[in-house]
C-alpha cells in the first residue's frame, strides 16, 4: 500500500529536540522524538506529518514518494502566528492592543453539553454565564465584564458575523470563540457592542487529506436534588401541627391522623396507609413521589459526523449533528424530549487568482415536547416534595366493610387531583415547540492587488417557530389525602378550562457587510500599516399569529377545528433596522510600538430621526517591551512582555423589545371583560408618554493590560484592568403615580463598572510521556450608580452611590442570640408592632433596632430614614473563576475543570412555596425538624416552626442578615478521561483514529449555601427543570 518507513530528526535552534510529537495528520498514528531528537514513523505517500512541540510552531511535511528521511527544525513559537478573530478580520495575538480573549473550539469537545454556553462557563475571565436550569430550551445568560446598564444589555453574539441565538448551535461546529471586551476591540460593531461582543467562527476544512470524523456519545443525567424529605408521616404531622398552631392556633392534622400515621410507621403495609372514619377513607402513609416519578438516570445522546478538506482552490466543511435529551419524568412515553438536528455546509472556491466565492448554509431544527405547564403545582419541584400525600385510589382488601371491594374496584388507581401532579403530567396535555432556523451566507472576496482584499457578504436568516400548548382535560377524583366513599366525585382540577393554543412565529433578519482591508508593509522598513473600512447594514422583521380555542371535543384530537368553546386570535409584527460605516487603522513601528484607531458611524431605527446617528471612536496602543534592546538581559526567562491600553466610546441601542420608543402608539386588544355572554370587549388604550429626544446610551471604556510569557513559554499571563462608564442610561424616571403611566424613557442616569481579569496558563511537557497544564481564569467587577434622579432618596429606586446588587434587610444575629428565647425577652425588646406582624413570642427572630429609636421599622424607606434596614449584603457575584487541570500520559489524557464564584450573597426570596424556609411550602423536610427553634433546640438556625404561607407567617422571613446566604461555590463542571487507542489496534479495525472517552459534568461541588439551595440555580424562585450530574461515554472515530 505504499507505506514507507521514515526516519527523521527534530531540532530547534539550540540542537536536537527530544519529546516532539510527530503525527500523521488525521490519524492517531504518532510517535515522539527520542533524547537525540530522532524518530521513526510509518506513513503513506501524500500523508502529511505534523511535527509539534509545546512552545514551537507546528511544521507540516508532506511525505513524498521514496522519502525515507526528514530533518526538521522547529521555530520557537512565541505565539507569533497565533491569530485571533476580531471584528471583520483577524489579528495576530501578539499585536493586539485591545482586550480580546479567545479560545478554540476544543474546549467544547468531548463534553455532554447541550449548548455552547455550558461549555464556555468559566473558560474566559469575565465572560460570565449563568444557566438558570437544566432545560435545554432555556437560553444561558451571557454577560461580559459585569453589570451593564439599568436597562439590561447583553453582549452582541455573532456567528460568522450574523447575530444568532447560541442555544441552538452545535458546539462541535465551532472553530473558535473570541470575546471582545473593551470599546477598542468592539468599536467596529458600534451601537450594539457596548457590552462586549462574542464572535463565533465555525469550522472550515484544513489543507491536507480529507478528514471524516464521527463522534457518538451516550450520557446519563441524574437531577441534582438536595431534598431530604421527612419520610415519617407521624413526625411530619407533629412538626406541621406545631407550625400551624403557632401561626393560626389550629392543627393541620388531627388525633385520628396522628394515630393512624403512627400505626403505619410501626407497620407500613398498604392497608395501614389508610384509615376509616365514617364513610371517609384517609391516607396516613407516606409516598415517595420523587422515588416513584423522578428518573434516576435521564438519557441523552449526541452524534456528529463531519467531513472536511481543502485544496489550494477549494475548501469545504460539512457536518451533521444530532442531539436528544430526555427529561426527568419516569415514564418513557410522557417524558420531556428535546431533539436537535444541526447541519452546517460551507464551501469556498477560488474562481481566479483574485476572486473567491463562498457559500454557507446552517440549518438547525429543534423539537421539544414537554408536559403542559400548569403552574408550580405541577412540576418537578412539587412532585419531588409531595411527600405524605395520597396518590391514587388505593387497592385495599375492603373499603368500608369487608366484602365491599367490588363496589369500589372501578376507582382503583385513579388519581386524586388536588395533590397529584402526575395526573397532569401524564394526561394534562403537552407543550410542543418546533423551530427551524436557516442561515445562509453568500460571500465574495476579491484580491485585486497584493495587500488589498475586498469582501462583501449577504446573510439572510429565516426562523420559523411553531408552539402548540395543549391543556387537555384530566379525569380524576375530587379529594386529596382523603375521600368520602359515599360521595366519590370526578373532577378535572386545574384542567377544567381546557384549551389549545397555537402560535406561529416568523422571523427574518439579514446582515449585509462590505469591507476592504489593505495591508502595506514596505520591504526593509520599520513600518506596517493595515486599514479596514467597511459598511454594515442589518434589518429584521418579526410576525406572529396566535390562536387559542377552548373546550376540546376530545383530548385525543388536538386541533383547533376540534374545539367547541370560545376562540381568540392575536397577531403582532415589528421591524428594526441598523446601518453603519466603520474603520480600523493599525500602525506598527519596529514591531514594537502598536497603534490602533477604530470607529463607527452608526444609525438605528429605534431612535428619532434627529438623534439617530452617532459616531463612536476609540483608540488603543501597545508596547512590546520585551523587543527592546535594553531587555536583552531578560530574554533567558522572559519570552514576551507587552503592555497595552485603550480608550473608546460605544453606544447602546438595546432597549429590549421596545422597537419604537419615540413613537406614541395606542394599544389595542381584546379584554376579558364581557359585554354579554361570549362577547369579549375589544379595547383601545391611550398612548403612553414618549420622549422625542431619546438617544443612545453611551458606554465609555478604558482598559489597561499586560501580557507576559515567561520561562520558555511555560507560563502565560494576561492581566486587564478596566473601567466602563455607562452614560445617559435610558431610565424610566419615576414620577409620582398621578402621572398615570410610566414616564417616558429618557437619557438621565450614569453608572460606572470597574473590574479586572486575569488569565494564566502554565504548561509543561515533562518528558516524552508526561504533560500537564493548568489554566486559571479569574475576574471581578463592581458597578455603582453615579447619576440618578431620585431627589427623595427613595430606596425603591436606584440612587447615586448605590452599589449594584445591594441587599437591604434587617440585622439579626447568628446563633442563639438571633432568636427570642423567652417571651420575656420579647417584652424587653424594641417595639415590633410597626413591622405589621402579630403575635411576637419566643422563637421569633430578634430584628435589631439598629437606629436605637426603640422601634423596629422600615422608616420612610428612604436613604435618610431607612428605619432599621441596612445593607446586609450584595448579590453581585464576584471573583468568578475557572480552573482547568490538564494531564496527559501517553495515550491517556485527563482533564478536569472547576468553576465557581468566590464572593456573593443570596437572599432566598420569601414568596409562598419557595422551598428554602421551613413550612413556606406544603412539604416537610428533615431539616425542618432539626433546624427549627424550640426551647430544647435554642441554637437552631431557623425560627420556631411556623407556617409561612400566610401573610402573618412571613414575620420571620423579612430579609435579614441571619438568613442571607453566602453564594460562593466551587463545582467540578467537567471531568474528562480520554484514551487514544494505539495505532496498531486502530489499524486492525481499519479506521484512521479511535478515541474513547468518559466525561462527567457537575460531579461535585462545595458551597456554604444551605440545602436545598443549589448555588447555580440562584435565578429561580422555585427549582425548575433540575440540573443534572451527568456521566457520558463517547467514541470518536476518524475515517
Amino acid at each position: 500500500m505504499g507505506q514507507q518507513t521514515i526516519n527523521g530528526t527534530v531540532s530547534d535552534a539550540d540542537g536536537p529536540l527530544p519529546g516532539a510529537t510527530i503525527v500523521v495528520q488525521g490519524t492517531n498514528n504518532g510517535v515522539s522524538s527520542d533524547f537525540d531528537g530522532n524518530f521513526t514513523i510509518q506513513a503513506n505517500v501524500g500523508d502529511v506529518l505534523e511535527l509539534s512541540f509545546v512552545g514551537f510552531q507546528t511544521q507540516y511535511i508532506t511525505v513524498a514518494a521514496n522519502q525515507s528521511s526528514i530533518a526538521a527544525t522547529l521555530e520557537t513559537d512565541n505565539e507569533l502566528e497565533e491569530v485571533v478573530v476580531t471584528g471583520y478580520g483577524t489579528q495576530k495575538k501578539v499585536n493586539l492592543t485591545g482586550a480580546v480573549a479567545a479560545v478554540t473550539g476544543e474546549v467544547l469537545e468531548d463534553r455532554p453539553i447541550v449548548n455552547v454556553g455550558e461549555g464556555l462557563q468559566g473558560v474566559i475571565p469575565n465572560l460570565n454565564i449563568d444557566i438558570r436550569n437544566g432545560d435545554p430550551t432555556t437560553a444561558p445568560e451571557f454577560n461580559i465584564r459585569g453589570f451593564e446598564s439599568i436597562n439590561g444589555g447583553t453582549p452582541l453574539i455573532l456567528v460568522d458575523g450574523v447575530p444568532m441565538d447560541l442555544g441552538s448551535l452545535n458546539p462541535n461546529d465551532i472553530a473558535s470563540i473570541s470575546v471582545l471586551k473593551d470599546a477598542s476591540s468592539a468599536a467596529v460593531y458600534g451601537a450594539r457592542a457596548a457590552f462586549g461582543v462574542i464572535l463565533i467562527e465555525t469550522k472550515k476544512g484544513k489543507t491536507g487529506k480529507a478528514s471524516v470524523s464521527f463522534t457518538s456519545e451516550f450520557s446519563f443525567g441524574r437531577p441534582i436534588m438536595n431534598i431530604d424529605l421527612l419520610d415519617n408521616p407521624y413526625e411530619a404531622a407533629l412538626i406541621k401541627n406545631a407550625s400551624t398552631q403557632r401561626n393560626a392556633g389550629t392543627d393541620a392534622f388531627d388525633a385520628d391522623y396522628l394515630a393512624g400515621a403512627q400505626a403505619w410507621v410501626a407497620n407500613p403495609t398498604p392497608e395501614n396507609a389508610w384509615i376509616r372514619e365514617g364513610t371517609v377513607l384517609r391516607h396516613v402513609g407516606f409516598n415517595n413521589f420523587a422515588d416513584e416519578f423522578v428518573r434516576n438516570w435521564a438519557p441523552q445522546q449526541r452524534h456528529n459526523l463531519s467531513v472536511s478538506g481543502a485544496t489550494e482552490k477549494s475548501n469545504y466543511y460539512v457536518s451533521l449533528g444530532f442531539l436528544e435529551k430526555k427529561g426527568w419524568i419516569n415514564n418513557d412515553d410522557k417524558n420531556i424530549d428535546y431533539d436537535r438536528y444541526n447541519i452546517l455546509a460551507k464551501t469556498s472556491y477560488k474562481i481566479t487568482d483574485w476572486l473567491e466565492m463562498d457559500t454557507k448554509v446552517l440549518v438547525t431544527v429543534e423539537e421539544d415536547d414537554q408536559p403542559h405547564f400548569y403552574n408550580w403545582d405541577v412540576n418537578i419541584n412539587s412532585l419531588a416534595r409531595m411527600g405524605a400525600n395520597a396518590v391514587r385510589f388505593p387497592d385495599l382488601p375492603y373499603y368500608l366493610t369487608p366484602g365491599d371491594r367490588s363496589q369500589y374496584e372501578q376507582y382503583i388507581g385513579i388519581p386524586f387531583l388536588s395533590v397529584n401532579p402526575m395526573a397532569y403530567i401524564e394526561n394534562g396535555g403537552r407543550d410542543l415547540m418546533h423551530q427551524n432556523d436557516i442561515l445562509a451566507t453568500q460571500g465574495l472576496t476579491i484580491t485585486p492587488m497584493k495587500g488589498l482584499k475586498v469582501r462583501a457578504e449577504f446573510s439572510p436568516n429565516y426562523t420559523y417557530v411553531y408552539n402548540e400548548d395543549q391543556r387537555t382535560k384530566v379525569q380524576g377524583l375530587v379529594g386529596g389525602a382523603s375521600v368520602d366513599l359515599s360521595n366519590i366525585t370526578f373532577d378535572s382540577g386545574f384542567s377544567t378550562t381546557d384549551f389549545l393554543e397555537n402560535r406561529y412565529d416568523k422571523r427574518f433578519y439579514y446582515v449585509f457587510n462590505a469591507y476592504a482591508d489593505y495591508t502595506f508593509e514596505p520591504e526593509n522598513s520599520n513600518h506596517y500599516f493595515k486599514a479596514i473600512v467597511g459598511f454594515n447594514q442589518e434589518m429584521g422583521n418579526r410576525h406572529y399569529t396566535r390562536a387559542k380555542a377552548y373546550s376540546l371535543i376530545t383530548p385525543n384530537i388536538t386541533n383547533i377545528n376540534a374545539t367547541t368553546g370560545a376562540q381568540e386570535a392575536y397577531s403582532g409584527a415589528s421591524h428594526v433596522s441598523l446601518r453603519g460605516a466603520f474603520y480600523r487603522l493599525n500602525y506598527i513601528f519596529q514591531d514594537k510600538y502598536l497603534i490602533e484607531l477604530n470607529g463607527r458611524y452608526d444609525a438605528s431605527s429605534r431612535f428619532p430621526t434627529d438623534t439617530r446617528f452617532d459616531f463612536f471612536p476609540s483608540f488603543s496602543a501597545g508596547w512590546k517591551i520585551s523587543e527592546e534592546d535594553f531587555m536583552a538581559g531578560t530574554s533567558s526567562w522572559l519570552d514576551a512582555l507587552k503592555i497595552r491600553g485603550s480608550y473608546g466610546e460605544l453606544g447602546n441601542q438595546l432597549l429590549g423589545n421596545d422597537w419604537y420608543p419615540y413613537i406614541p402608539t395606542m394599544g389595542s386588544n381584546t379584554s376579558s371583560y364581557l359585554l354579554a355572554a361570549g362577547s369579549r370587549a375589544p379595547y383601545v388604550s391611550p398612548a403612553g408618554l414618549v420622549s422625542s429626544d431619546l438617544t443612545w446610551e453611551t458606554v465609555t471604556s478604558s482598559n489597561f493590560g499586560v501580557d507576559a510569557t515567561i520561562l520558555n513559554n511555560k507560563l502565560d499571563l494576561s492581566l486587564d484592568i478596566f473601567t466602563r462608564t455607562t452614560k445617559d442610561m435610558l431610565m424610566n424616571v419615576t414620577y409620582p403615580d398621578i402621572l398615570g403611566t410610566s414616564a417616558p424613557k429618557s437619557n438621565a442616569a450614569d453608572l460606572q463598572t470597574k473590574g479586572w481579569e486575569l488569565a494564566a496558563t502554565w504548561k509543561n511537557q515533562i518528558n516524552d510521556d508526561w504533560y500537564y497544564g493548568v489554566t486559571l481564569a479569574l475576574s471581578d467587577s463592581q458597578a455603582e450608580i453615579t447619576k440618578y434622579d431620585n431627589p427623595t432618596g427613595s430606596l425603591n429606586e436606584y440612587y447615586v452611590g448605590q452599589k449594584i446588587g445591594e441587599i437591604w434587610g434587617f440585622k439579626v444575629d447568628d446563633g442563639r442570640n438571633g432568636i427570642f428565647q423567652t417571651d420575656a425577652e420579647v417584652a424587653g425588646w424594641a417595639d415590633l408592632t410597626k413591622m405589621n406582624f402579630d403575635g411576637w413570642k419566643a422563637g421569633d427572630l430578634k430584628y435589631q433596632d439598629i437606629n436605637g429609636d426603640g422601634v423596629v421599622d422600615r422608616g420612610n424607606e428612604t436613604l435618610d430614614n431607612p428605619g432599621d434596614r441596612t445593607i446586609i449584603g450584595n448579590s453581585s457575584m464576584r471573583y468568578r473563576f475557572g480552573l482547568n487541570l490538564d494531564l496527559r500520559y501517553k495515550n491517556w489524557s485527563l482533564n478536569s475543570f472547576f468553576q465557581g464564584i468566590l464572593k456573593g450573597d443570596y437572599m432566598p426570596p420569601n414568596g409562598n412555596w419557595v422551598a428554602f424556609y421551613p413550612f413556606n411550602a406544603g412539604h416537610v423536610e428533615k431539616y425542618y425538624v432539626t433546624d427549627s427553634w424550640t426551647p430544647d433546640n435554642p441554637d437552631a438556625y431557623f425560627h420556631a416552626a411556623e407556617t409561612g404561607t400566610n401573610n402573618n407567617g412571613k414575620k420571620n422571613l423579612q430579609y435579614n442578615s441571619r438568613y442571607l446566604q453566602d453564594a460562593s461555590y466551587i463545582r467540578l463542571k467537567q471531568l474528562n478521561l480520554n484514551y487514544r487507542v494505539p495505532q496498531d489496534i486502530v489499524d486492525l479495525i481499519g479506521v484512521q483514529s479511535l478515541n474513547l472517552y468518559y466525561s462527567g459534568q457537575n460531579l461535585w461541588e462545595a458551597t456554604k449555601m444551605r440545602k436545598p439551595l443549589d448555588p447555580e440555580v440562584r435565578p429561580t424562585l422555585t427549582q425548575e427543570y433540575y440540573k443534572n450530574r451527568t456521566h457520558a461515554f463517547g467514541v470518536k472515530i476518524g475515517l
Binding site: 385520628d256 431605527s605 401573610n951 402573618n952
Partner: protein
C-alpha cells in the same frame, strides 16, 4: 487585467450602495401592529372601543375598588366586595390570608410601605391613576369624532362617571386627594409635585361629573354603565358625602342629601329596574346572589360577568372559609317577624339553642346564615357536600369550619363552590336596584331631620320588606334600646338596620360606619355563637375548637380574636376614619402630606 479587477471592485461597491442609498426610509420604522393617535377618534365605534378600556382596567379590583366583582385564582381570597365586611362588625376573618381586613377593623395597622403592599392599606389603596389618565385623554379627544353631540356626550358621560366613582372612592378613604382633569406630562411639576386638593373642591368636581353622566348617559348600554347606573352611583356617592359632612361636622350636607334622594328617586320612578323576585319564596332574598346567570333579573343594574374560558373567578371556593363567619352582632340585628328588634319582641326565642335563633326572625337571616337543617338544602361542606353536623368551628375535624359558627350562605352556590380551580362564573353585582331604595329612604330621613313620611317608606324600604314578607316599617317605630344612645331617631336606627341586613357582604358596611361616624362600633369585640356548656356539648362534644370564648353579660360566647393581637380593638376617631398614604407615594411627593395620626 487591472481594468477587470477595478470592474469587480465597482461591482461590489455598487451592489452595496444600491442597498443603502436610494433608500432614505430604511431607518424609518413605524409600528406595524399598533394604532397611532392621529388615525383614531373618528367613528362612534372608536369612542366605544376606547371607553371599553375603562371596563378593562377596573376589572382589577385591587387597583380600582369600584364596580367590584370577584377576582380569579389566588387573589379570590381577598379581592371581592364580599370580603370588605371583614373590616366591620359583620364578619370576623381570622385566617392568615384575611388578616389585613381584621387589622383595619381592629385598628392594628400601620402605614403601608408601598402602595403595592400585600397588606392593610396596600389593598384597594392610593393607586389606580392610569384610569384617570385614560379618561382625561379620552375627554380631550372625543370631540374629534365625526358624530353628533349627543353621541359624544354619551361617551363623555361614561368617562366622567368612571372618574366620579374613582375619585369618590379615593376621597372616602383619603379625604383630600389630587384632582387631575387633563393628561399630565412629566413637565406638569405643579401637579406632579403639588399638594392634595381639598375634599370640597374634589367632591364638587365629582358632582359635576355625576350630573353630566345622569344628563347624558343612555338608558340602554348593554354590558356597560347606563343612566340607571349613573343615578344609583350618584345617590350612593351623594349620600356618602352628605352623611359624612353631617356627622363629621363639615357642613353643607343638605345639598348632597337632596341630590342623593333625587337621584335615587329618578331611578325608582324610571321603572327601568325592580327587585328580584324568586320563584321559591324561601330564596326570595338570596337567590339573586346565588345565580350563575342573572341576565333575566330586573334587579342588577351593572354586573361583572364571568364565563368559562374567558374570565372566571375562584370566589365560591375560597369565600366560605376566608370570611370567618358572620358575627353575633350581625345576627342579633335581624328583626323578629313582628318587625320588632330582639330586644323588644316577645317572639324572640333567645340563643341558648342554636336553632332557636332562626325562629320567628326576618327570613333574610336564614337566607344569610346557615341553619343546621339547611345543610342538605344548600349541600354545604368543605371539599364537597358532607354529612357532618353544622355549625362547625375551627379546630373541629371534618367539614367546613369557620370561626364564629355562623356560616354565611348568601353568595354560596354549591356547584361552583366545589368545582375545579378557578372555574366559577358567579357574577359580581356591584350595582343593584335594592340599594337605591335604601339610599332614598336614608337621604329622605336625614333631610327630614330624622323623620320620613309613610309614603316615602312605602316606595322604598317597604318594597324590600314585602319581598321577604316582613311587616312594613312605619315612620315612628319603637326605639331599639340597644341603639337609644346613638343620638339618632328610631326611624334612622331602623333604616340603618335595614341597610345592614339587606346589603350584608356587599361591601357597604365599612363605608357606612365611617360616614355615620360610628367607628367606635369597631371597638366592640367580635363574638360568634353562644358557647355555654350546652352548646359546647351539642356542637363540639370532643372539645376540639380552638376559638376561645369570652363572657357577654355573664354568658359565654366564642370570642373570635381572643388570644390574638386583635383581642382589644382600637378605633382612634382622630385617625382611623381616613387611611394612611403609603410611604412610597409620600417619598415620591412629600407635599401630599400624611393624614392625621398616621
Amino acid at each position: 487585467m487591472m481594468k477587470n479587477i477595478l470592474n469587480k471592485i465597482l461591482f461590489v461597491f455598487s451592489a452595496s450602495f444600491l442597498l443603502l442609498s436610494c433608500n432614505d426610509d430604511f431607518l424609518e420604522r413605524q409600528p406595524l401592529d399598533q394604532i397611532s393617535n392621529s388615525s383614531f377618534w373618528n367613528t362612534e365605534n372608536d369612542l366605544a372601543v376606547y371607553n371599553n378600556f375603562y371596563y378593562h382596567l377596573v376589572q382589577n379590583d385591587n387597583d380600582y375598588p369600584i364596580l367590584m366583582g370577584h377576582d380569579d385564582g389566588f387573589d379570590s381570597q381577598k379581592y371581592s366586595y364580599a370580603y370588605l365586611d371583614g373590616m366591620t362588625d359583620n364578619t370576623a376573618p381570622r385566617h392568615g390570608r384575611g388578616l389585613a381586613f381584621a387589622r383595619i377593623k381592629t385598628g392594628k395597622w400601620n402605614t403601608p410601605s408601598s402602595k403595592n403592599a400585600n397588606d392593610a392599606g396596600g389593598w384597594f389603596g392610593y393607586k389606580g391613576w392610569p384610569l384617570i389618565r385614560a379618561i382625561n385623554i379620552g375627554l380631550a379627544q372625543y370631540d374629534k369624532a365625526n358624530v353628533s353631540e349627543s353621541v359624544k356626550n354619551h361617551y363623555k358621560a361614561e368617562a366622567r362617571l368612571f372618574r366620579a366613582i374613582f375619585y369618590a372612592d379615593k376621597v372616602s378613604k383619603y379625604g383630600d386627594v389630587q384632582w387631575a382633569d387633563k393628561e399630565l406630562t412629566t413637565s406638569d411639576d405643579d401637579i406632579l409635585y403639588g399638594p392634595r386638593d381639598s375634599r370640597d373642591f374634589v367632591m364638587g368636581k365629582v358632582l359635576e361629573d355625576l350630573n353630566f353622566a345622569v344628563a347624558n348617559l343612555r338608558s340602554s348600554n348593554p354590558g356597560k354603565l347606563t343612566l340607571a347606573a349613573a343615578q344609583l352611583l350618584k345617590s350612593r356617592i351623594c349620600l356618602f358625602e352628605g352623611t359624612w359632612r353631617k356627622y363629621h361636622n363639615l357642613g353643607g350636607h343638605e345639598q348632597w342629601l337632596t341630590e342623593a334622594a333625587s337621584a335615587a328617586k329618578a331611578l325608582m320612578d324610571s321603572g327601568a329596574h325592580s327587585l328580584h323576585v324568586a320563584s321559591d319564596p324561601n330564596f326570595s332574598y338570596n337567590e339573586l346572589h346565588r345565580l350563575e346567570v342573572v341576565d333575566g333579573s330586573p334587579e342588577p343594574i351593572f354586573i361583572q360577568r364571568y364565563e368559562r374560558g374567558i374570565r372566571t373567578n375562584h370566589f365560591q371556593n375560597y369565600y366560605r372559609n376566608y370570611n370567618g363567619g358572620a358575627t353575633k352582632s350581625f345576627v342579633e340585628d335581624f328583626l323578629c317577624e313582628d318587625g320588632l328588634p330582639i330586644s323588644l319582641s316577645p317572639l324572640y326565642q333567645g340563643d341558648a339553642n342554636f336553632r332557636d335563633l332562626f325562629v320567628n326572625r326576618d327570613p333574610r337571616l336564614r337566607q344569610s346564615v346557615l341553619h343546621p337543617d339547611d345543610q342538605v338544602l344548600y349541600r354545604y361542606g368543605n371539599h364537597g357536600p358532607d354529612v357532618n353536623p353544622y355549625p362547625r368551628i375551627q379546630g373541629m375535624s371534618g367539614g367546613m369550619r369557620i370561626y364564629t359558627g355562623y356560616h354565611i350562605i348568601k353568595n354560596f352556590q354549591v356547584g361552583p363552590a366545589y368545582a375545579g380551580y378557578n372555574s366559577s362564573m358567579t357574577p359580581g353585582i356591584p350595582l343593584r336596584f335594592g340599594e337605591a331604595l335604601l339610599n332614598y329612604a336614608e337621604a329622605k330621613a336625614e333631610l327630614g331631620g330624622g323623620t320620613i313620611s309613610q309614603a316615602d317608606l312605602d316606595i322604598s324600604i317597604n318594597l324590600l320588606r314585602d319581598r321577604v314578607g316582613m311587616p312594613h316599617l312605619t315612620p315612628n317605630p319603637p326605639m331599639d334600646p340597644r341603639y337609644a344612645d346613638e343620638g339618632i331617631s328610631s326611624i334612622l336606627v331602623e333604616i340603618r338596620r335595614e341597610r345592614r341586613i339587606e346589603l350584608f357582604i356587599e361591601g357597604f358596611r365599612y363605608d357606612d360606619l365611617r360616614r355615620w361616624k360610628q367607628g367606635k362600633k369597631l371597638e366592640q369585640k367580635d363574638y360568634g355563637i353562644r358557647w355555654d356548656a350546652a352548646n359546647r356539648a351539642a356542637i363540639d362534644p370532643d372539645g376540639k375548637t380552638i376559638v376561645k370564648s369570652g363572657l357577654v353579660d355573664g354568658v359565654e360566647y366564642l370570642e373570635i380574636y381572643k388570644g390574638t393581637d386583635f383581642e382589644n380593638p382600637v378605633f382612634d376617631e382622630s385617625k382611623h376614619y381616613l387611611w394612611p398614604l403609603p410611604l412610597d407615594v409620600l417619598s415620591q411627593n412629600p407635599d401630599l402630606g400624611q393624614n392625621p395620626g398616621w
